[in-house]
């Protein structure tokens, strides 16, 4: 699966899940008991079901951003590793030192900070895109390590995160 597709897959799953929640809400609103049979919604007070669905939607938003970021970071690391290998393969006269150096870089890439990896693409990507990607990372970190005492960084709507991360990967692929 190509990088934009991997993120697209998460995005499509998000959309389907949101639609399912909407359908469930409609069924509850219209009292379609038959479609609710066998679900956890039966025998639950309607206000509790509504509150649970709304809370699930908010959790889903944050989890979608966490998942998209995980895929994004994995794809970015893979791209940098592949680019390092290409540099080695395409150079006809590399020394043993060159090889040792590139091997060392390749082995260490996955331990680099995400911000530093993104910065490598500064010469090739629109500066706004770099900025948005870093803001998504900050928000992702805040969601992952949520500390109620810490103020929130800029919040990220899932659809905007999807558009940005898919575009960054597309442009990174083109620039390599």
């Amino acid at each position: 699966m190509s990088a934009p597709d991997a993120i697209g897959e998460i995005w499509r799953t998000y959309q389907v899940t949101v639609d399912c929640l909407e359908v469930a809400l409609d069924d509850i609103k219209l009292g379609r008991i038959d479609s609710l049979q066998g679900t956890g919604f039966m025998d639950t007070p309607i206000d509790v079901v509504r509150r649970d669905i709304r809370a699930s939607r908010e959790t889903l938003n944050d989890h979608t951003i966490l998942s998209m970021w995980a895929v994004f970071e994995r794809e970015m690391v893979a791209m940098l590793e592949s680019e390092t290998r290409n540099m080695l393969n395409e150079s006809p006269h590399y020394s043993t030192f060159n090889k040792a150096l590139l091997d060392k870089i390749e082995a260490g890439i996955e331990y680099w900070r995400a911000d530093e990896m993104i910065d490598l693409f500064k010469p090739a990507l629109p500066i706004e895109l770099i900025g948005y990607a870093k803001q998504i990372k900050r928000y992702r970190d805040w969601v992952a390590h949520r500390n109620p005492k810490k103020p929130s960084p800029a919040k990220v709507p899932p659809e905007f995160a999807y558009k940005v991360l898919a575009e960054v990967l597309k442009q990174m692929n083109l620039s390599c």
């Binding site: 909407e22 669905i53 709304r54 629109p126 706004e128 990220v156 659809e159 995160a161």
Partner: protein
């Protein structure tokens, strides 16, 4: 807080205030009651500040709340959410055109701006917009008709 952030926060508070005045006006025309309470928002960029939220009721029956979420939002200049018993919709303050990226190309050894690529369509003026988030990325200007459509979709409020 630096001067730029102070200015951005002031603008956000003012934009929310104008939006709330409109919503109150539209709601009262339909016989809905509008109450306010104060809430606190804590954001890295702006610190802690107080802001009002609106509570809409119909004959004592709670319908929805319009809750400011914050000034610091990636891709927009602030957000309020319309939250009903059943769902939540996001209203964003966007500058004309909306968020974009500047595409550049190396031409004769010099990086030149080629074009701007916008994330959303139909943001023809600065103002409050609702993004049809799970579909086409098309923005709709937040007006009275859209407000009541969204109110019906997040709550059990029936349009007259």
């Amino acid at each position: 807080m630096n001067e730029t952030n102070e200015h951005l926060l002031k603008e956000y508070l003012q934009n929310v205030s104008v939006l709330f005045a409109n919503i109150e006006n539209w709601s009262v025309k339909r016989g809905l009651e509008v109450n306010t309470t104060t809430l606190e928002i804590n954001e890295e960029e702006y610190g802690t500040y107080k802001i009002e939220k609106l509570i809409l009721t119909d004959a004592g029956h709670s319908i929805a709340e319009i809750i400011p979420i914050g000034c610091s939002i990636v891709g927009s200049y602030g957000r309020v959410d319309l939250v009903g018993l059943m769902n939540r919709e996001v209203i964003s303050y966007l500058k004309k055109g909306g968020p974009y990226i500047t595409q550049s190309e190396l031409i004769d050894g010099v990086m030149k701006e080629v074009h701007k690529k916008y994330f959303y369509r139909d943001i023809n003026d600065t103002g409050w917009y609702w993004i049809e988030s799970t579909r086409l990325g098309r923005a709709k200007k937040f007006d009275e008709a859209l407000f009541f459509d969204l109110l019906a979709s997040v709550s059990d409020y029936e349009r007259a």
